[in-house]
Symmetry: C2
Subunit: 210 residues, 2 copies
DNA sequence: GAGGAACTGTCAATTTATTGACAGAAAAAA
DNA sequence: TTTTTTCTGTCAATAAATTGACAGTTCCTC
């Protein structure tokens, strides 16, 4: 899809650009220069221009960037113009919290199933979707064309579940389990290691950064 | 505390080293070389040695690293040898999920209060701690010596709450609200922008990164 | 206890990321 | 219209991060 491989550092900044542009759009602002945006976002104007230029020339000399257009384009680059079906594996507190987070839907991430291995909660309704036994996971993925699996399960089961997900054709895993998944390179994995993040905060607190 | 500023790239890798070392320790393994660790962790041995060396020579030529010792030392560097009291602002689904996550306690992060602005849930018990009105937040922080505030509130209220937190002396914020907080440089902020993470996954899915 | 193998710590080389500079295009002003 | 200003896209320079190389220490074997 892309000609040259674009670094994850750049990709990681796109959602933030998207967020600020959405905000400017909501404020009714139609154009913005890299300099203005850099002031708001506290990054260099050079970085903004460089980043955006990886994907093509969205701006115009002497004018800047059209907020609405750039917002749309970054949305497309991020794949937000398409719907992604996602299922959640693990209906514990975190799984349920994510299932209830409606903002994902606004960006095209459609929550369509949640699975657990505890019979006591089978059938529990979360936003009109009932908790299913994890045994039904494979069939559900195949028959519902699921793109993304969200892993909110204990680390002990994560590897086994990941393997099952891969073998039934899932393409992406959003992993909240506190282990690194060892799956094929073709499967996209995005880790959210909350404890790691908290430890980083703890370090910075202890070392009184800046 | 530290002589030279250590880059956030290095800090960000420490929790992962810590995790793998903990695992080796649990398996009863006493020593490990940077080469062995690099094989397991899929990073270069050079990077491991370089990273660890920022904090001092933990290894021994011809022997490698003592797993238990290195584990302890990284724990100290991350500040995990001390207890950190944390409170959660926002008792929605995510706030409650985090409040219920007992693994934080194992690393010294003590959940000791949760606040909300919805009177309907005041008094609700979460792990023996009741949801308090957010008005009591400031007094609670001051009288309980709270280190970290976890923000699980809508982005609209985040800035105002952050300001209140800062003015009553909080030193660190773990921010789950989908905005960048504009607080003094002395306050450590660690953002967990779930939607950004999901968008990154979406991009990689769309561009089929290897 | 001597010799070879296994390692680290560190320095240098390389790669990657970020920032600065500027030519030239468009817009705004005169 | 002409001139001046604004602002991008891009290239070059700088800075930062990662990797490679190796001297020298320790361990292990014989």
């Amino acid at each position: 899809m892309e000609e040259k491989e674009i670094s994850q550092a750049v990709i990681g900044r796109l959602p933030r650009y998207f967020r600020y542009l959405g905000q400017l759009k909501d404020e009714g602002i139609e154009r913005v220069s890299s300099q203005e945006l850099s002031d708001i976002m506290k990054v260099t104007a050079s970085q903004i221009r460089q980043d955006l230029n990886h994907f093509g020339g969205f701006g115009q000399q002497g004018y800047g960037y059209n907020v609405g257009y750039l917002y749309e384009e970054i949305g497309k680059i991020l794949g937000l113009d398409k719907e992604h079906k996602l299922i959640i594996i693990g209906a514990g507190h975190l799984g349920q919290a994510l299932a209830n987070y409606v903002n994902f839907e606004r960006r095209g991430f459609i929550f369509c199933g949640i699975f657990d291995n505890d019979p006591a909660i089978y059938g529990t309704q979360i936003r009109d979707i009932e908790v299913r036994p994890v045994e039904e996971m494979e069939d559900f993925i195949k028959s519902n064309n699921v793109d993304i699996a969200v892993l909110t399960i204990p680390k002990q089961c994560a590897a086994a579940i990941a393997e099952r997900l891969v073998s039934c054709g899932i393409r992406a895993i959003w992993n909240f389990a506190h282990v690194d998944l060892n799956v094929s390179e073709e499967i996209q994995v995005e880790n959210v290691h909350l404890l790691d993040s908290l430890m980083k905060l703890s370090y910075n607190l202890a070392s009184r950064r800046k």
